[in-house]
């Protein structure tokens, strides 16, 4: 199996495994799985775009701090949306922690991808997987 395929699978297999765990043990609350999936998808999309932006500017390959920064930004954005437009009955800490776990997993994927950031196929894969999981997650969260 080529490294490129392994890197693409890195974005899919762990994300699906955690989704299956949520459904197996917390299946009575599909919205938890949905928040996790949406958090992962949205963060992978933003992280992939950020990686492209850094690549265009020839930023250092030795600096991974931006990944932690993007993850924290996504967690903060999730906190704001959960407190405002997605606040129905009350701010739900389990929704917030679940979507943030998705954001952190996207960060772990970006660490693996960082050394191959000029691989446009990889960035496209990140965008496609991210948009699909964001859509599936959103439909689980509110559907």
């Amino acid at each position: 199996m080529s490294t490129s395929t392994k890197l693409q699978l890195l974005a899919i297999v762990p994300a699906l495994a955690i989704g299956v765990i949520f459904e197996l043990f917390l299946g009575h609350r599909h919205d938890y799985t949905g928040h996790y999936g949406a958090g992962y998808g949205a963060s992978l999309v933003l992280g992939s775009l950020w990686m492209r932006w850094r690549n265009d500017r020839n930023c250092s390959l030795e600096d991974h701090r931006w990944i932690v920064g993007v993850v924290l930004l996504c967690i903060a954005a999730g906190f704001v949306t959960e407190s405002t437009i997605f606040r129905f009955a009350r701010f739900d800490w389990i929704d917030f922690c679940s979507q943030s776990l998705g954001a952190v997993l996207a960060g772990v994927v970006l660490v693996g991808w960082h050394s191959r950031r000029t691989d446009n196929e990889l960035i496209s894969a990140g965008l496609v997987v991210g948009v699909i999981l964001l859509g599936v997650g959103a439909s689980y969260a509110v559907g």
Partner: protein
């Protein structure tokens, strides 16, 4: 690669904290870890997206708001007094003993969150190994130029 290891460690700590946050929130809603001593000043059931599945149960004890599991919510009414020491499963509701239990959320989190952390550890190890073994496009270009 030290920077990658440091970022991975930060992400792992975040994941452990968030998984613990999920577990603690479910535990807190059982009220079992809480010490309660006061009067229920208000009760309210709020509805989310799926009526009957994700309803939110709120109690105000001496005007302090608590989100609780349905079990306790159904046993109390406005004006009841609540008494329990921390970590006891018995609560006195206006002198009547009520047994508390953990919710399905709690038992699910108890198994799911450690498994999620294990997947994070495995993914980080795999991710760092891939990043370390595969030469970067930049380094390959430098080698080709030399």
């Amino acid at each position: 690669m030290r920077s990658g290891k440091f970022a991975s460690l930060c992400l792992l700590l975040l994941a452990v904290g968030l998984a613990a946050g999920n577990y603690w929130t479910a535990t807190h809603r059982s009220t079992i870890p809480l010490s309660l001593n006061g009067t229920v000043t208000k009760t309210e059931q709020r509805f989310e997206k799926h009526h009957g599945k994700d309803d939110v149960y709120l109690l105000w004890i001496d005007d302090v708001e608590y989100q609780v599991d349905r079990t306790l919510f159904e046993e109390v009414a406005q004006g009841d007094t609540l008494q329990k020491p921390a970590w006891s499963k018995q609560v006195l509701v206006s002198g009547r003993s009520v047994t508390l239990g953990y919710s399905k959320d709690w038992s699910g989190m108890l198994i799911a969150m450690p498994l999620v952390v294990c997947i994070f550890v495995a993914t980080i190890v795999f991710s760092l190994r891939l990043a370390a073994t595969e030469p970067t496009i930049d380094s390959r270009a430098a080698k080709a130029n030399s």
